[in-house]
């Protein structure tokens, strides 16, 4: 079912953080609620990089953003 004309108030939010062990590294994620909140995402990254200790600063290619729906296993509700 698809209601194109239903609009709801939608504010961004931090949903949580994750610590996942991968093969040779650890993947730490910060989940937010609105993948389209470009300004929020930008500010979030800037905040993290600013607040993290010097020795913990990640390299340029060591972080990225990904919307949940772009994951292969994402099962859209109602889809």
């Amino acid at each position: 079912m698809h209601f194109a004309n239903v609009y709801v108030a939608f504010n961004d939010d931090i949903c949580g953080i994750s610590y996942s062990v991968r093969w040779n590294a650890v993947q730490i994620a910060i989940w937010n609620r609105d993948a389209d909140n470009e300004a929020g995402k930008e500010k979030l990254l800037a905040t993290v990089l600013e607040k993290l200790s010097e020795k913990l600063q990640p390299k340029k290619d060591a972080y990225w953003y990904k919307a949940h729906k772009e994951h292969k296993g994402f099962a859209a509700p109602g889809a």
Binding site: H2, G16, V21, N32, R33, L44, K51, G73
Partner: protein, 417 residues
């Protein structure tokens, strides 16, 4: 041994009898030869059990009643305004006890004013003020009197327009006292049942003061204050105090300190007193709560790729679902109770630990996550625990939330069901 046996088997009829007379029930036993003699030994005859209690009973009030009525017959039932509050009452009972002790020793002593009314009467009769029990009256008595005066002020607020300096109307303190002491025959009628002695005392005190001031509608606070100072044996009541403190009762008596300025008074005028003050202190020293409640989750690594999730629903998938760890986290105390007990460096491949807002599951498919995404940071295993620690603190400390929480006024998105 023989002695012990004899003791056990020896019948003690008197003790048993006493035991049963006191109303205790004792179930008879089948073998009562040994057990029956285990009864509470009777106390020696010369020992008497006396009920000693620290709580004053009504006898104090009877003494006070008769005392006052003897001294003060034209003012009926004047026990009412004797006891104003606990501290005042304590001093009062102390004085009574001193009086009784002195009486027993047959030493003639000055009568101690049992009440404000009696003291007023003595002032009225121009009698010299009696000597106090031990030096000047204690602060407790003074505080009690101040509270009486505060109550009076409540019922009869000082009128600013009243000519406070008009001395023609009221000439002397004695005149005021005489006016105030006009007896009223009617006793207050209680409609509610009497519960405790202190209730009676409080009610009667209030009623009596109402009566006194109904009889004398003039309530000049300056004169009242002078009266109070007079009763307290404080001769410091003079024109200076009357001028500066006109309309302000009760007076805080400090030695020579300057009065608080208006600015200082406003700065110290906190509404929190007593229990309220304690509560506010406890509240301020309590660990502050986070803005959001949090919850740790544990997720076991999946051996298969998450792509087959919808196809392979089974025990393995169920085991791989995130499970909440412990209770909700509302302050830094609970946070570290959990955090310090999660060995993140010991996790196996594909295992995960999540720290999420309470009510949000760490799944992409959670209703609050479907439209969201995540920043991923690849961190070396050496640095990961520290990195995780700092990110956790940024999360619970509301730093991350503040970053994404822009001032967009409820941006509307198409809502897909």
């Amino acid at each position: 041994m023989a002695q012990i046996t004899r003791l056990i088997n020896a019948p003690q009829p008197s003790a048993k009898q006493t035991f049963h007379q006191k109303g205790y029930s004792s179930r008879p036993r089948a073998d009562n030869s040994a057990f029956a003699s285990f009864s509470i030994p009777e106390p020696p005859a010369e020992v008497k059990f006396e009920t000693t209690t620290n709580v004053p009973d009504a006898s104090y009030f009877k003494v006070a009643d008769s005392q006052v009525n003897n001294n003060f017959k034209d003012f009926p039932k004047t026990t009412e305004c004797q006891v104003v509050n606990k501290s005042f009452y304590d001093d009062y009972t102390k004085a009574l006890n001193n009086k009784a002790a002195a009486k027993n020793k047959s030493i003639k002593c000055e009568p101690i004013p049992l009440s404000l009314v009696e003291a007023l009467q003595q002032v009225t009769n121009n009698a010299p003020l009696p000597s106090q029990p031990a030096g000047p009256l204690s602060d407790n008595v003074r505080v009690g009197l101040d509270q009486v005066l505060a109550t009076l002020n409540k019922y009869f607020p000082p009128k600013p327009a009243a000519p406070a300096c008009d001395t023609t109307k009221v000439t002397t303190i004695q005149d005021i006292v005489k006016q105030y002491l006009k007896p009223k025959p009617a006793r207050p009628v209680r409609s509610t049942p009497i519960s405790t002695i202190s209730d009676i005392v409080n009610d009667l005190a209030v009623a009596n003061w109402k009566r006194i001031f109904a009889a004398a509608p003039i309530s000049d606070p300056v004169q009242l204050e002078a009266l109070a100072q007079e009763i307290l044996g404080e001769r410091r009541c003079n024109d200076k105090i009357s001028d500066t403190m006109a309309g302000r009762l009760p007076v805080l008596t400090t030695s020579d300190l300057p009065a608080a300025s208006a600015q200082e008074a406003s700065a110290t005028a906190s509404p929190a007193r007593g229990t309220a003050m304690l509560n506010s202190i406890f509240k301020s020293v309590r660990v502050p709560e986070f803005r959001f409640k949090w919850q740790f989750w544990a997720e076991k690594g999946q051996q298969s790729t998450p792509g087959g999730k919808s196809a392979t629903a089974g025990a393995e998938e169920y085991a791989a679902r995130p499970k909440p760890l412990g209770d909700q986290i509302i302050s830094v105390k609970e946070f570290y109770q959990h955090f310090n007990n999660i060995p993140v460096s010991d996790l196996k491949l594909r295992d995960s630990i999540h720290l999420f807002h309470l009510g949000v599951k760490p799944l992409w498919e959670d209703p609050r996550n479907t439209r969201g995404g995540a920043y991923y940071f690849r961190v070396s295993k050496e640095l990961a625990p520290d990195f995780w620690h700092e990110i956790c603190l940024l999360a619970v400390g509301d730093i991350l939330q503040g970053a994404v929480e822009t001032k967009r006024q409820g941006k509307s998105l198409p809502f897909t069901v």
